[in-house]
């Protein structure tokens, strides 16, 4: 099916199951410990061996030689496979750094060997016995100095690095009120709870991999490329994923090493990347330096807005697209954005939840707060005044649906925004109290997504798609979609995900998963409905599926009977027309935050959080709300404590574990409120839904930084907003 025209009324609009607060259908498995993650697949008839990786201890250079003799002699060791043994491999299309193979070292903790032993303990001990002789190369590790050699990156996927409308420089120079400020965001880590893990098993030239992947087909394709085998020979499964946040979008070293190790050992091998290793081994969100200039009239109209961003990556890598939202979020006739990319020899920078917008809004939404302060305007009013209903770079192009103003207004009302005082004036006990807010914005992406839906003689529906559930609720919303389309209760729907034998789906990423994959199931269900109609000789234009029955005129047939003993199958892939070109499709929201800042120590603690989201139809308010509060929690970490600290001499992230890289804990997070605007977006998909999983992260960190400003009068432009950036400006303690 191709979605080319805005949706009209369809069976989803019945909303008997879709849109309802239905608890996760995988909830019992997850809460009882029965959901099996990658490393946990166990067949009592298989004698698994254990692989333990070794990472490079230098950031750049070449491996001259590796001495594996002691490791090979170590008790229990079955084989040792080194990067030199496997040699340089073809690079997967989504990878920047080599995952495993060859003598070149491109970053710290790049995988250079895998030791296979009968037990985990034996493999780990032996891995420490490998001696490596390196030719150490000179690397560049400091973004702040590498920017001088930064280049304009090539356009990726139709995204130009630069944009310009009107006369930005002239308008900015002549603006009555001006802001010119530079912000920085640090390197950040996905830090998902389940480490990268794979089990690989060969059967002749066929490979089965049980792994932890957000994108089955991307992994399968790139694993085939890296191994140099036919993609059809690989069977990949990832039915449960212990979090990804973009870190598991692209093939990682665990799967590659497991495959080589299993080949060498002649038996299935389990590999999990140790936590202190995986931080530098895997990808991260690159640090940015962002300069934002805003010019406005005295009554608060933006006349000029400019956003430039510098980031770094390995050669062949990409920029962090931190300026993208600035092209779309606010009005203003004169505009410019630019991205520049420096070469850095740190681990690979790549997508992390809301790539571009998350760090972009961390900067932009402080800048908006700052210009509102300069204007003496309420930042909510300033944002409303500068709203736009068209793409400000292409005024002929409308947003499909945009209710940012509604989010701002409702949020301000519900949060008690009017109670906000002047900066540094409100004190309760030992804390300064402040309110802050920011707009949320994330583009709505769609991806082709396929599914197979089966109807059997019991009237049961089974959905099969290689879609993944990374905690997003895919199992549940896909079941809801099929139940709605086929007119059956939830109990009659089974969902099988994350298997490369199923139709290729959107996968999970870029907040496109829910809308795209449910649309894929919708398309497959349309096919199945047609098959049912055809089998029964019904006119498919005049047919109703409800209560486990099919009705047409006055004929009623139970689905089980329609299925017949052989059952029926519908399979299709949702393809997308050019509605995303005709219309700008985005999701919107507003974040409101209350903080307390310790008057003595400068410790920032959150007191209240509210997000209001406008993201089309909400398919399941329980799982959608969880996506948003989860993103708000991540945003709290990004605002207040998360930073991969770079050793600029030796080129690695120093705090490479969960003690050193501080994500938010329970004690950091207050009760969180989420309000969804009641809306649909028929231009987005037949589901009339949009993504919401990343929207919750967009802007929340800036809202916190703005609240800290309101509490203390101190403007911190370098994340994270830690106490050392505050205490020197806080009043003396009596």
């Amino acid at each position: 099916m191709k979605f080319e025209k805005p949706a009209t009324t369809n069976p989803i609009d019945n909303l008997t199951v879709v849109g309802k607060p239905i608890h996760r259908i995988d909830g019992e498995l997850k809460t009882t410990g029965r959901a099996k993650y990658a490393y946990e697949w166990h067949d009592p008839d298989i004698d698994y061996a254990y692989g333990y990786p070794l990472g490079s201890s230098i950031a750049k250079g070449r491996i001259r030689s590796m001495d594996t003799a002691a490791a090979k002699k170590s008790p229990g060791v079955i084989s040792v496979v080194t990067a030199l043994d496997v040699g340089k491999r073809d690079l997967g299309s989504k990878n920047t750094a080599n995952l495993f193979g060859g003598d070149e070292v491109q970053h710290y903790h790049q995988a250079i060997a895998i030791v296979v032993a009968a037990t985990f303990e034996q493999a780990r001990a032996a891995s420490a016995l490998i001696k490596v002789d390196y030719a150490v190369g000179e690397g560049v590790f400091d973004l702040s100095t590498a920017t001088k050699d930064a280049k304009k990156p090539k356009a990726e996927g139709g995204t130009e690095p630069d944009s310009s409308v009107g006369d930005f420089e002239g308008a900015f120079a002549n603006a009555a009120v001006k802001l010119d400020a530079t912000y920085t965001t640090p390197d950040q880590s996905h830090a998902m709870m389940e480490p990268f893990a794979s089990i690989a098993a060969w059967n002749g030239d066929e490979l089965t991999v049980w792994t932890s992947s957000q994108m089955i087909d991307w992994w399968r394709t790139d694993l085939a490329t890296t191994l140099g085998i036919d993609k059809e020979k690989i069977h990949l499964m990832s039915p449960f994923i212990g979090g990804g946040f973009g870190g598991k979008l692209f093939l990682r070293s665990d799967a590659v090493m497991a495959a080589f190790a299993a080949k060498a050992a002649g038996r299935p091998v389990k590999v999990a990347l140790p936590r202190p290793f995986l931080v530098n081994n895997a990808t991260h969100r690159p640090a940015t330096i962002q300069r934002i200039r805003i010019g406005a009239t005295r009554d608060g109209k933006i006349t000029a807005i400019g956003h430039e961003s510098w980031s770094g990556d390995l050669p062949g890598g990409q920029p962090e697209t931190a300026v993208m939202q600035t092209r779309l979020l606010y009005a203003g006739e004169n505009r410019m954005t630019a991205m520049r990319l420096a070469t850095l020899d740190l681990p690979e920078g790549n997508s992390m939840r809301a790539p571009g917008e998350a760090p972009g809004l961390m900067a932009l939404e402080i800048a908006i707060d700052e210009i509102a302060v300069k204007l003496g305007m309420d930042p909510v009013e300033f944002r409303i005044l500068n709203d736009t209903q068209v793409d400000p770079e292409k005024p002929g192009r409308n947003f499909s649906h945009r209710n940012l103003v509604g989010c701002l207004t409702l949020g301000a009302e519900k949060f008690g925004w009017n109670a906000r005082g002047k900066p540094g004036t409100k004190r309760e006990g030992g804390q300064f109290i402040g309110l802050g807010m920011a707009a949320a914005f994330r583009n709505n992406l769609v991806m082709p997504s396929g599914a197979r839906v089966k109807l059997d003689a019991r009237g049961d529906i089974t959905v099969e798609t290689d879609m993944t559930d990374i905690g997003t609720g895919s199992y549940t919303i896909l079941a809801q979609t099929a139940a709605e389309m086929m007119g059956v209760p939830m109990e009659k729907v089974g969902v099988h995900l994350g298997d490369s034998r199923f139709p290729v789906s959107s996968g999970s990423g870029g907040q496109f998963g829910a809308n795209s994959s449910t649309s894929g199931v919708y398309a497959a269900c349309v096919k199945l409905r047609e098959a049912v109609a055809q089998k029964l000789g019904f006119n498919s234009q005049d047919i109703e599926f409800a209560n486990g029955e099919v009705r047409s005129d006055n004929r009623v047939v139970p689905l089980s009977q329609a299925a017949g003993p052989e059952g029926l199958v519908g399979e299709d892939t949702m393809q997308w027309g050019d509605l995303e070109k005709t219309y700008q499709q985005s999701t919107f929201g507003a974040h409101f935050v209350e903080v307390g800042v310790d008057v003595a120590t400068g410790e920032v603690r959150l007191k209240r959080m509210l997000a209001v989201c406008a993201a089309g139809r909400i398919l399941n308010p329980i799982t959608a709300r969880s996506q948003v509060i989860g993103a708000m929690t991540m945003g709290a970490g990004l605002a207040l404590s998360e930073e991969l600290s770079v050793d600029k001499r030796r080129g690695f992230f120093v705090n490479h574990d969960l003690a050193g890289y501080e994500v938010a804990v329970h004690a950091d997070i207050p009760h969180q409120d989420v309000i969804f605007m009641d809306e649909t977006d028929p231009i987005s998909s037949p589901m009339k839904a949009k993504g919401v999983g990343e929207l919750g992260l967009c802007g929340v960190s800036a809202a916190i930084a703005n609240a800290v400003y309101n509490a203390t009068g101190i403007r911190v432009r370098d994340y994270p907003v830690t106490l050392d950036k505050l205490i020197h400006e806080l009043p003396e303690v009596a």
């Binding site: 003595a600 120590t601 030796r650 050392d724």
Partner: protein, 318 residues
């Protein structure tokens, strides 16, 4: 983790003897720090002596009216003990400020004193570290140092001692009781227990080979208000940037120990003497010879501000 042999010690004496007979042996109690380090091969014992079954898990009142805390008393039990809560509140507060509920259920009193630094360069075996590998150099100096020490450090090492409990013990004038392999016992004042790094940062305590901590003794209660204030980026489950353990009497005199700034719990007599004059005066003494880096210079101001808040808190309450 290298392979090791394992024994359950039958007595304190036997444990100490076994340890002295095997130069690569280690005692294991809660294991929460030792196993963490063994997995990374920062600690590489070839023999482990399990000392959990020696009955060292009692808390008793001493004849001097103080408290004798068995070496194997778990952090949770020590923090929960009625007498500790009532008379040594500082200790209870420091304990529950540390780690997590799970870790406190396992971690012991002796083990906590012997906790090793959280310096990230100590933790990364690909980096040089004089503490981990004497003479290899200190890669932390000139590197990422925000968490590291500002005082008591040396050219060889700028790591801090990570314990919260030890800060309270220092303020409480605890005494560490040990048994040596020859069966003799000794008492080590907490002030002498932890060593400054100098040019031998791998020597962290006064313990000799095979010497085993059996108890920690507290003198009779000091009275006063007990406050432990731990400052950190996230609200819980994090090591201190700075922590203040203070006992302040109604007249404003008292004692103060500082965590997160030095290779040992940091206490200075002159600072105690100046405490009644306020935080600025006390901090000037505490931080007199500080040698911060650009990244951790803030800790000096933070100590003063936190101490000021602690003193203010004692004034707020009767």
């Amino acid at each position: 983790m290298r392979a090791f042999t394992f024994e359950r010690a039958e007595s304190v004496r036997a444990a100490a003897e076994s340890a002295s007979n095997n130069p690569e042996a280690k005692f294991i109690a809660g294991g929460t720090n030792l196993l963490d380090l063994m997995k990374l091969e920062i600690e590489v014992p070839t023999h482990l002596i399990d000392v959990n079954g020696l009955g060292l898990d009692k808390i008793e009142v001493t004849s001097e009216g103080g408290l004798r805390i068995g070496a194997m008393v778990r952090n949770t039990d020590l923090a929960s003990h009625e007498t500790v809560r009532r008379d040594y509140g500082l200790l209870s507060r420091a304990l529950v400020a540390g780690a997590s509920g799970q870790l406190r259920n396992k971690a012991t009193t002796a083990g906590n004193l012997l906790q090793r630094t959280r310096c990230p360069y100590f933790y990364d075996t690909a980096q040089s570290c004089n503490k981990r590998m004497p003479g290899s150099g200190c890669s932390a100096i000139g590197g990422v140092t925000r968490q590291l020490g500002v005082i008591g450090t040396s050219e060889a090492c700028i790591a801090t001692h990570p314990s919260d409990m030890a800060v309270a013990m220092r303020a409480l004038d605890a005494v560490v009781e040990t048994t040596r392999p020859d069966g003799t016992n000794r008492s080590i004042p907490i002030s002498d227990f932890h060593h400054l790094p100098g040019d031998s940062p791998h020597i962290e305590t006064a313990l000799e080979k095979g010497e085993m901590i059996t108890a920690v003794t507290l003198p009779k209660p000091a009275g006063g208000m007990h406050i432990y204030r731990k400052v950190r980026d996230r609200a819980s489950y994090a090591f201190a940037l700075v922590s203040i353990g203070a006992i302040i009497q109604a007249d404003g005199t008292g004692r103060v120990a500082v965590g997160g700034v030095a290779p040992k719990p940091w206490r200075v007599d002159a600072a105690d003497a100046a405490l009644a004059k306020g935080a600025k005066a006390a901090c000037a003494e505490l931080m007199a010879d500080a040698r911060p880096t650009d990244d951790n210079r803030f800790k000096i101001a933070l100590v003063e501000r936190t101490l000021a808040a602690v003193i203010e808190e004692t004034r707020d309450k009767p």
